[in-house]
């Protein structure tokens, strides 16, 4: 029977537990990443072939509890209950055992088979933390396997355990609450047995006492009397404890986890300041933290762009030869030219992806895996709060400097819809690699590097003001930052490459097709000879208001595809790459400002569309076009005083 050789497992754990590393290690290239039905939350699935078994692995979102704060938490618990996985592998950060166990206790309440993978034990050892795994196993009556996922250590033992336990009942020791709560659970359980819900009875009783919305509604539908009874019990509990019942229960869980931790953990030699503590102090304290941040981020951008310019120049000379070859052998007639525009779109994407985006993400994820990115969130939280979002939004901004597409997608880390939207809007204003090509290729090269850097500062100021305005317009309380501060650790090449590929894939599969198709369409319009009409139609804006040559009307249309096309087409139309012959400094700066802000590129628009609906996506485009033109016109007039 093939069925006997099929196993479904689920990975569950808190953020930073190394869950993704385990997932990548187990499934390698057999991964499928999609979305949960109707949600913008990533669903990562993969398959592992091991000892004749086909093991389907699902990576649940990283969450801190199993209540209903966030969609991620609801998805996770619904999946575990309804999909009946053969086993849940709970990945635990051994350096944060106490916090991780709170989640484990909730997981065990779901009464599904759980295996504990106590991860990063090498780091725990370094910190002087000794864990009695045997005792933990006895306390919870669940298999415990120590692992070091980054090196693959212990993971085969985890899978062996999965196979060994297949088909067996859970039988874990479920955590007992205090006398009053247990009494309430007992009373409710007795009533709940009769209504036959698709959830474990004890778990439903606990959720009722925690006033869980979804479960209360479900029970109310079946038997309003039980809900009424729960209401009485809750009232009684709250009277005794003087707190909300859900808090009382969460408190008890938290204290149980402390107690277990005390029993199984021994900490030795914590006298000396570790390297981690020193680095942490250096990179987060007031006096040196900000300086380090500027140095690290500045160094990152500088090295990426100098490397990018070099490599992109190299590509450029090769592609130019290809174009000559194409024209000589296939001609320059309509269809051939259209064909080249498709090829050229692909080449141009390569020219952005490899020299700029790839190294950018390698460095970014190196910093993340090392543990530095969380420090930036910490340092920037206050500033981000002024824009109505919290420190984690900063990460989306930094990703946006590489490419706005993964930048906008990364806004999913924000907790509320409101913050997700504000962050996404602001990310579209972040100058991506393509915009940087314009800024450095035009302003940096012909006006001066300080002007180019000045434009970056200007962009930051604009983003800040836009954030302030949008946080005022979109009502709602800003969510406070709650974030785990990871320890610094040696970055793992494998993790970095996986994450880089994840982001690059978004660029390749989302951005590329749209860019290529619309590239051909616009080229067709161009070849049909309609461009001059369009540029003269736009001349009141481009010539009269912005003081640019009429030709820029066409450039700005091409720029919707990919921002750097503005520069490429400028050279093509003017027949020269020494832009200073045809544009004044003032015009270059104006053009750069319009390019920075006027509209997100098509690929970014399509992401906004997918995540927030077409109305909001269009609203952003219209607003940003109007804003960019207004702003650039004003700056152009101000520059009269300078040049």
């Amino acid at each position: 029977m093939t069925d006997e050789k099929k196993i479904n497992i689920v990975l569950a754990g808190q953020g930073n537990s190394g869950k993704s590393t385990v997932f990548n290690y187990l499934t390698g290239l057999h991964q499928h990443i999609g979305n949960w039905a109707g949600k913008t939350i990533e669903k990562r699935e993969g398959t592992l072939f091991y000892k004749g078994y086909t093991i389907d692995v699902l990576d649940l979102p990283g969450i801190y509890s199993l209540t209903t704060y966030s969609d991620e938490e609801v998805i996770s618990r619904e999946h575990i209950i309804h999909q009946n996985p053969d086993c849940v592998i709970n990945i635990i950060d051994s350096t944060n055992l106490e916090r991780s166990l709170i989640f484990t206790l909730q997981l065990l309440e779901l009464e599904c088979p759980v295996i504990l993978a106590v991860n990063m034990i090498d780091l725990a050892k370094k910190k002087g933390i000794t864990i009695d795994f045997k005792k933990l196993q006895d306390i919870l009556n669940a298999p415990v396997v120590p692992t070091v996922a980054s090196r693959g250590r212990g993971l085969t033992r985890v899978i062996d355990k999965v196979i060994e336990l297949k088909g067996e009942k859970a039988g874990h020791r479920i955590h007992r609450y205090g006398k009053e709560i247990e009494n309430c659970i007992k009373q409710l359980s007795e009533l709940l047995v009769d209504i036959n819900l698709p959830y474990p009875v004890r778990w439903v009783a606990i959720k009722l006492l925690e006033k869980d919305n979804d479960i209360s509604r479900l029970v109310a539908g079946r038997s309003p009397q039980i809900l009424e009874k729960a209401g009485q019990l809750i009232e009684n509990l709250e009277e005794i404890h003087g707190h909300d019942s859900s808090v009382v229960i969460a408190d008890e869980r938290s204290h149980t986890s402390s107690q277990i931790t005390r029993e199984i953990v021994k900490i030795t030699s914590n006298r000396k300041l570790s390297i981690n503590d020193r680095l942490d102090a250096l990179t987060t304290q007031k006096s040196t933290g900000y300086l380090f941040m500027i140095l690290i981020l500045g160094g990152m951008f500088l090295s990426v762009f100098s490397f990018g310019n070099w490599l992109s120049g190299l590509f450029d000379s090769v592609f130019r030869e290809w174009h000559t070859w194409w024209n000589e052998n296939l001609g320059t007639a309509f269809l051939s030219a259209l064909g080249w525009s498709a090829v050229e779109s692909v080449l141009a994407l390569i020219q952005i992806a490899f020299p700029y985006i790839l190294p950018f993400y390698v460095i970014l994820y190196l910093l993340e895996d090392w543990g530095y990115i969380a420090r930036i969130s910490f340092l920037m939280d206050k500033l981000m709060h002024k824009m109505g979002i919290h420190g984690k939004g900063c990460i989306s901004f930094i990703i946006g400097f590489g490419c706005n597409v993964p930048g906008c997608l990364s806004c999913r880390i924000m907790e509320s819809k409101r913050e997700r939207f504000i962050t996404a809007v602001l990310v579209t204003l972040v100058p991506c690699s393509a915009v940087s090509v314009i800024v450095f290729g035009l302003v940096g090269k012909y006006v001066g590097i300080w002007w180019a850097l000045g434009l970056y500062l200007f962009a930051v100021a604009v983003i800040f003001i836009a954030g302030k305005i949008s946080s005022k317009l979109l009502l709602g309380e800003p969510v406070e930052l709650i974030m785990a501060m990871p320890d610094y650790k040696t970055p793992q090449l494998k993790t970095i490459l996986y994450q880089t590929w994840d982001s690059l894939k978004e660029f390749v599969f989302i951005a590329a097709p749209i860019v290529i198709i619309s590239g051909v369409v616009i080229q067709a319009i161009n070849l049909a000879g309609w461009m001059p009409a369009i540029s003269s139609f736009m001349s009141p804006v481009t010539v009269t208001w912005l003081g640019l040559p009429a030709i820029t009307g066409i450039l700005l249309i091409f720029g919707i595809l990919r921002k750097e096309l503005i520069l490429v087409m400028l050279a093509a139309y003017l027949g020269t790459t020494s832009f200073s012959d045809v544009l004044t400094s003032q015009q270059m700066i104006t053009l750069a400002i319009v390019s920075m802000f006027y509209i997100p590129c098509v690929a970014t628009i399509s992401v906004l569309w997918k995540e927030y609906g077409w109305k909001k996506a269009m609203a952003i485009c219209v607003l940003e076009i109007g804003f960019a033109i207004l702003l650039a016109g004003i700056v152009s007039r101000l520059l009269n005083f300078v040049f």
């Binding site: 801190y64 509890s65 209540t67 704060y69 950060d93 350096t95 944060n96 055992l97 106490e98 916090r99 709170i102 989640f103 707190h243 909300d244 859900s246 808090v247 969460a250 408190d251 869980r253 938290s254 204290h255 986890s257 402390s258 931790t261 953990v265 942490d280 102090a281 987060t284 304290q285 007031k286 933290g289 969380a374 969130s377 910490f378 340092l379 939280d381 206050k382 709060h385 919290h390 420190g391 406070e480 930052l481 709650i482 974030m483 785990a484 501060m485 320890d487």
Partner: protein
């Protein structure tokens, strides 16, 4: 209201200072969320450091390091030993 002697908000602690959490003055959701992270009354909390201009607070509680926004930290009442 919370002027009992020795009870101060977490944000009033100095860098490196340790205290015991007395209560969390937030709404039910916030209190529960913190409890899920191991931040409940009776636990020992240590302020690792604060940032400039009432920025977030880095704390060590329940054996792990967390960063909490300023507004949130000011809702956590502690008692110094």
């Amino acid at each position: 209201m919370n002027s009992k002697k020795g009870r101060i908000s977490l944000t009033k602690l100095e860098d490196g200072q340790t205290a015991i959490i007395v209560s969390v003055q937030g709404g039910k959701m916030l209190t529960k969320r913190l409890a899920d992270l191991g931040i409940t009354s009776g636990k020992v909390v240590k302020v690792i450091r604060k940032t400039l201009f009432s920025g977030p607070v880095q704390v060590e509680v329940a054996g792990s390091r967390l960063v909490l926004g300023w507004g949130l930290s000011s809702k956590i009442l502690v008692e110094t030993r």
